[in-house]
């Protein structure tokens, strides 16, 4: 068991360390978030009321689009120098690798989300501080759902031609429930209502997260085989 955790930890450590050094994904993602902000602003026009009304959807649109970029790249680093072979050949349960990758992805996504929230707060003059704890709960559950499917599908498409096309085509419909639940829960939270009002959505999110995680853990070894 401890070897399992150790291997998951090493994968996450390796990915986060590489990312911290190269900053390849993170730089691009932060810049992309900034671009999104402009796109949203131009699409909605200058009226504040419209932005506020669309805010939950815009936030999650931003997260999902960033996620599409981030998750699709997760396994590309393993193709360099055939590291993929090494992962397949390391003895033991392969789902540890999935969990490690997932942890790395969740971490990256949370960073991007924080950046996006700050950007929204600054550019649209919003104040998230009173709802922050509730919002954090929704973000955590939603992000985990996105990342668990995204990591699995990222591994599937990494070895494929036309993966830039295929990855969003597979991922987007699969995470529709996460999107619906997260947007609805975020709406409740941003309206200043108590988190309990969104309890049904949070439960759905938690259930979805669990199902995706179980499917990912059980099937990952077949994906990794390449």
């Amino acid at each position: 068991m401890s070897a399992y955790v150790r291997r998951a930890w090493m994968v996450a450590w390796k990915d986060v360390l590489s990312e911290r050094r190269s900053k390849e994904s993170l730089n691009a993602l932060v810049f992309f978030s900034l671009l999104l902000l402009f796109v949203f602003q131009f699409a909605l026009g200058p009226e504040r009321a419209r932005v506020e009304a669309a805010l939950p959807g815009l936030l999650w649109l931003g997260f999902i689009l960033s996620g599409l970029l981030a998750f699709g790249r997760t396994f590309l680093v393993e193709r360099e120098n055939d590291c993929w072979e090494g992962l397949v050949l390391s003895p033991g349960d392969k789902s540890a690798i999935y969990l490690g990758k997932l942890a790395g992805n969740v971490l990256v996504m949370i960073l991007v989300e924080v950046v996006l929230l700050v950007l929204f707060a600054v550019f649209f003059g919003l104040d998230f501080t009173p709802v922050l704890p509730a919002l954090a709960a929704v973000l955590a559950l939603g992000t985990f759902g996105l990342a668990s499917v995204g990591t699995l599908f990222g591994a599937i498409t990494a070895q494929m031609r036309a993966r830039e096309l295929l990855f969003p085509v597979l991922l987007l419909p699969a995470v529709v429930p996460v999107l619906l639940a997260s947007v609805s829960a975020t709406q409740t939270v941003l309206a200043g209502e108590p988190l309990a009002d969104a309890a049904a959505w949070l439960k759905l999110l938690a259930a979805a997260d669990l199902v995706y995680l179980v499917v990912g853990v059980l099937t990952f070894e077949f994906v990794l085989e390449g």
Partner: protein, 237 residues
Amino acid sequence: MIQAEHLRKTYGPTAVLDDVSLELSTGQGLTLLGPNGTGKTTLLRIVATLLRPTSGSLRVAGADALKEPEAVRGAIDMVGHGSWVYEDLSALENLRFWAAMGGHDAGDARLRAALEEVELDASADRRARTFSAGMKRRLALARVLLGRARLLLLDEPFTGLDRAGRKWLSEFLLSFKARGGAIIVATHSFDTGVGVADRVAILAGGRIVLDRPAAALGLEDLRRLYDELAMGPGTAS
């Protein structure tokens, strides 16, 4: 260590490997010769459990490689075309990662000793991105050094190494064998590849066309046979 029988691998209508049978016992070295594209890499990858054969049976390290590949994976190590090096990690960090993934965590002292063995100690904390191909290969060998593999699979291990490196690798392989390990070296250049072999096999067109003890073959015989068998009649000079 290896019992392979009637291995066959096809991609659609083309057979990359056709009825390959192979045996290798503990402490033996086998050099697999053949021009590029004759299925050497495919055969290595099948033995390594990275590929499944279309048909045939394969036992590696006492386990059925097709039914329980996990049992095989703990007993083998491989240096293929890729070196399994992460470009943004240092040499030391790369070793630490693979040691942990292999289930044998090692302290920094052991990792550094392994790096010293492959003469990378001076670059231990440099990012692998700055390494030459030969350095990456040596880093891969340091990884093998740390492991507890009983069977070592090497695909063109001598390319990218200078004279000293080749000599070092030959010595390393000999000592690996002396400790009871088995080795397969796949290569197209037999000058360097045959040195550590107890047996030489020639692979051509997906078939093993020759499998003999190395002692029975002089380099000249081998060169002649190779030209005849692998390159086809008429090309022999």
